[in-house]
């Protein structure tokens, strides 16, 4: 069974440009997370979906970040415009919507804003 798939793996863009990341979760997983991880730090939650509903986006910088999860499956995270401080690894994870379940992570997208 395929794990969580993210694309692209790497992205280099100039500041003020838009960028989008894509995530395909594990089949059957209702919960989807987007995390941002800065170098040497732990992942920080940006947004959490339960099916197609964003149940927690309190940490998402809404002036420049947006996310969607179409039909409760794939998800995209967009940044427009990107800033230098957005350089980080963006991780997608999914899990079943039930108590005491583990999250499965994708390989992440390493974004470099120059």
């Amino acid at each position: 069974e395929a794990g969580v798939v993210q694309s692209p793996r790497y992205k280099i863009i100039e500041k003020k440009q838009p960028v989008a990341f894509w995530c395909n979760p594990i089949s059957g997983h209702n919960t989807l997370y987007w995390y941002r991880q800065n170098l040497g730090q732990g992942p920080e939650l940006l947004i959490r979906y339960e099916n197609e509903e964003a149940v927690d986006d309190s940490q998402l910088p809404k002036d420049r970040f947006s996310a969607e999860r179409l039909k409760g499956v794939d998800s995209t995270l967009k940044i427009q415009p990107a800033e230098l401080g957005d350089s980080a690894v963006y991780l997608c994870a999914s899990s079943f919507l039930s108590r005491d379940t583990e999250a499965f992570f994708g390989q992440g997208t390493r974004l470099t804003v120059v």
């Binding site: 969580v4 997370y33 995390y35 730090q41 732990g42 992942p43 920080e44 939650l45 959490r48 149940v55 927690d56 309190s58 940490q59 991780l91 994870a93 108590r99 005491d100 379940t101 583990e102 999250a103 499965f104 992570f105 994708g106 390989q107 992440g108 390493r110």
Partner: protein, 115 residues
């Protein structure tokens, strides 16, 4: 955000020795999970311990949970070079409001196993 805090931030030991990492958190939890991350890779789930459990084993891993002290420890016995990675605790905490942040990660412990 209400993150767990790992201690130490970095740990370097010889192959064959045991490695112990600690995690402290702030609020009531449903469970606490430990993840491993190799350099440049995604996180891999290691073990989950529920709030009503005190100890759990998985192979060379032993996890303890003390809810009264709001702390957990991860012990890796007979370490191997392949155990070199960053280890994170993640708390699935009971939110005060519906939809609040869950599965919050700490800053991690960078473990280096020297051959």
């Amino acid at each position: 955000s209400q993150q767990g805090e790992e201690d130490p931030q970095a740990l370097s030991i010889q192959e064959g020795e045991n490695a112990t990492m600690n995690c402290s958190y702030k609020t009531s939890i449903n469970n606490l999970q430990w993840y491993r991350q190799n350099s440049g890779r995604g996180l891999v789930h290691l073990i989950l311990i529920r709030s009503n459990e005190r100890e759990k084993h998985s192979g060379r891993l032993r996890v303890t949970l003390d809810t009264s002290k709001k702390s957990s420890s991860l012990l890796i016995t007979a370490s191997r070079a392949a155990d070199t990675a960053s280890y994170f605790c993640a708390t699935d905490f009971i939110p005060l409001i519906q939809g609040a942040q869950k599965l919050v990660f700490g800053q991690g412990t960078r473990l280096t196993i020297n051959p």
